[in-house]
Amino acid sequence: MWDRNQMAARAADELEDGWYVNLGIGIPTLVANYVGDKDITLQSENGMLGMGPFPFAGDENPDLINAGKQTITELRRTSYFDSAQSFGMIRGGKIAAAILGAMEVDEKGDLANWMIPGKLVKGMGGAMDLVAGVGRVIVVMDHTNKHGDSKLLRECTLPLTGKGVVDRIITNLGVLDVVEGGLKIVECADGVTEDELRAATEATIV
């Protein structure tokens, strides 16, 4: 089983030198810590390419935040632009990959990560644009919920963020690809057998 940091490290392996990448909040944010020598440029969809780390205390700038509204810093390569341009590059497929969290994923690549009916609905933010537009959608999530039920389903039950948009799923139990007919196991996490991974998965595995 992988922990959060191992999942983030595994997700970082997905990224190729020279890519422009958008990281969602939660575990995806940790991916930045594991890109190593690769030349990765992070997009913040509120209007920035080349997102740097958090500032040192005292250096916070209210005019410089990320999509999670956190104070951040710029890099030498940074460029700023408006929201229409920012989502123009997202919708236009210029962002090579987005790494996002999920509540549910299904075997057709449908993704649900923005609302639970009956609960407080905060909004989809830029998630629908990202999953519809970027080159590759990589989901990082726990394989099961706190009741032990699979979050990799035959069919999503929650309202969708995007239909047929997910390419690869990285969970605490392993890595799976969305392919014709279902999900395909790419690898199992350390100490996880393929049988265990199958048992924890409701979606069809092909």
């Binding site: 913040s44 920035m48 040192f56 509204k69 905060k122 989809m124 830029g126």
Partner: protein, 238 residues
Amino acid sequence: MQKIYPNAAAALDGLLQDGMFIAAGGFGLCGIPELLLSAIKDAGTKDLTFASNNAGVDDFGIGILLQTRQVKKMISSYVGENAEFMRQYLSGELELEFNPQGTLAERMRSGGCGIPGFYTKTGVGTVIADGKEHKDFPTGPDGAPETYIMEEGIFADLAIVKAWKADETGNLVFRKTARNFNPPAAMCGKTCVVEVEEIVPVGSLDPDAIHLPGIYVHRIIQGDHEKRIEQRTVREKS
């Protein structure tokens, strides 16, 4: 042609009307037109519809207009930071139209560019697509058809915008990620009022580095901004 006004109230004089549609710049609390929002609160204008990515927090940004019940409807992508918003929404006092963030930005830019409708893949197969026109375009591999939905341009009665600097003709420069929704919001307003930190003499801005030309800007005020930080995150000096 004088675009400079002494303060927010003066700049909004004659422009406010109950039931009007306002496009506002800003993302979270970053780059929001805080002085103009405050003046709208003081003016007491009611039944407002706002196109704005967020709704501020309870006591800052559009949140201050929610407390006074001046807002009838929000068109936003994310409103999670505002408890009063949620209370009014869940009790049915407030209408809410969720737009994906990029769709909202493009709708504003489109309205400003005289484009009443455009096609996007964003939201296809989700609740966002319900009731919208669907159309296939041959954009897939080898010209395979892909499905898009039509979204409409936003044409607002008024745009309220925050910039860093303006020259006397309204040429605007923004700063870092405070640019965000401000240019598209400015573009889609029939009238556009801008608050800045500094008004500079015409000729002091580099003509190649103007983010939004003065043609989009009708009235300008200079003022002091609180510029509140929503999530102060720092790292340790190592």
